[in-house]
Amino acid sequence: MLPEKFTLEVVTPARLVVRETVSGAQIPVRGGYIGVLAGHTPLLAEMGIGELSYHAGSRTYSCTSMGGFVEVLADRVIVLADSAERVEEIDVPRAQAARDRAQKRLAAPNDPNVDWKRAEEALERAQVRLQVAAKAGVPSVADSGHAAS
């Protein structure tokens, strides 16, 4: 008989973001999303940039997750992310500013000063943040999303 729930931990070098007993999770690994339920076969993967969502009780929560590693075991999932934030912590104006900045950089194809990889990653991070925030219904007007204060 397999257990129905497992422990999900999302940690970054800066802090512990999530530690909860959940019934399922979608995890953004490199190259796509994986769905995890309790009793999953052990799995080790590198994380991508994306939305990590998990079900606890009858609700679904989501957070952003950028880079790092994930280990899936039957009763426990550890996400070692480079950075991660819960949806209410997303700084929408900042993400918008970052997206605009990155787009401007990428729009100048001949500029030798542009670090392409960095700009692309920055754009991706900003877009994920905005998507996750938008899905959770955080309006994308200035000075909302400062849930941290």
Binding site: P3, E9, V11, T12, P13, A14, R15, L16, R19, V29, R30, G31, I34, T41, P42, L43, L44, A45, E46, F69, E71, L73, A74, D75, R76, I78, L80
Partner: protein
């Protein structure tokens, strides 16, 4: 017999010292707050990556294929000794260095090299003319990930080049403001035997220990990123812990120095008043007896 003026001078001098110790206490307290936050919030991640790697070690078929996981007979040892950056923090530096030299004695049948981290550690090894493989100063006042990466790169280079068969960390771990714990940890190689035993390290439910992972991408690719990350994080953690512990030790030391100074001032003041009273009494007697003889 010391005069009143002597007492006043000494009291003033002690009070000056007290002002300095009090200021140092406040500076240490302010730095401690930030250092403590860094150290405490890093712990879940550092612990997590260690656990993941442990569990991974017991699953993968042939860990020896990764240079950083290779097990070799321990003949050459590399020790990273992290002290505080400055003095005036009680026995903080003395303790960690004493433990370090104890450790070096234990290993004296092997060839041991030292990486000295922070000024006090470097000075101490230099004075004893130890062979220092590398030194890093100015790193524990504020733990910095970039610096940790630099140290980690050096450590991994030495290990991969077979110039060391094992790597240890010696440092102070922050417990609370009044307490530090001396830690001696083995950084590399990760021990496979210890990991495979179910028990205190692995939670009982991960009993499917022998099962290999499914990989979303080639195992080598993951390991070649995960293991260096682990080394970096453990070193970063060592710096963060030392930083918090050092500021805590300094704060405590300066706190007691300040209160000792108060005690000294009180004692000197009491003494001074006694001397003054004695002088007044003597003068009165002189006046009275002079008046008596004149009358």
């Amino acid at each position: 017999m010391p005069t009143l003026l002597d007492f006043r001078r000494r009291i003033r001098s002690v009070r000056n010292t007290q002002q300095i110790t009090r200021a140092m206490k406040f500076i240490a307290a302010a730095r401690l707050r930030r250092a403590q936050e860094t150290a405490l919030s890093l712990r879940p991640y550092a612990g997590g990556i260690r656990e993941v790697l442990r569990s991974a070690m017991s699953r993968i078929e042939n860990p020896e294929q990764f240079p950083l996981l290779a097990q070799r007979p321990e003949e050459r040892v590399l020790v990273l000794v992290t002290s505080g950056e400055r003095g005036l923090c009680g026995a903080f530096n003395a303790n960690v260095l004493r433990r370090a030299f104890e450790f070096l004695r234990e290993k004296n049948d092997k060839s041991v090299e030292v990486i000295a981290i922070a000024k006090k550690s470097r000075d101490s090894f230099r004075k004893r003319s130890w062979k220092i493989a590398a030194e890093y100063v100015d790193v524990t006042t504020r733990a910095d990930l970039g610096k940790a990466r630099e140290i980690a790169a050096e450590v991994m280079k030495i290990y991969e080049a077979h110039q060391a068969d094992s790597v240890y960390l010696i440092y102070n771990e922050y417990r609370n403001v009044l307490m530090q714990t001396l830690r001696v940890e083995k950084l590399l190689p990760l021990e496979r035997a210890a990991l495979a035993t179910p028990g205190k390290n692995s939670p009982p439910a991960s009993s499917a220990d022998a099962v290999d992972y499914i990989y979303e991408q080639p195992a080598a690719e993951i390991f070649n990123k995960l293991v260096p990350r682990y080394v970096e994080m453990q070193i970063y953690r060592m710096l963060a812990e030392t930083s918090a512990a050092e500021h805590a030790a300094r704060m405590t030391a300066m706190e007691s120095a300040t209160s000792n100074a108060s005690d000294v001032i009180d004692a000197l003041t009491l003494h001074m008043n006694k001397v003054r009273q004695a002088a007044i009494t003597r003068e009165i007697i002189e006046v009275v007896s002079g008046a008596a003889s004149a009358g």
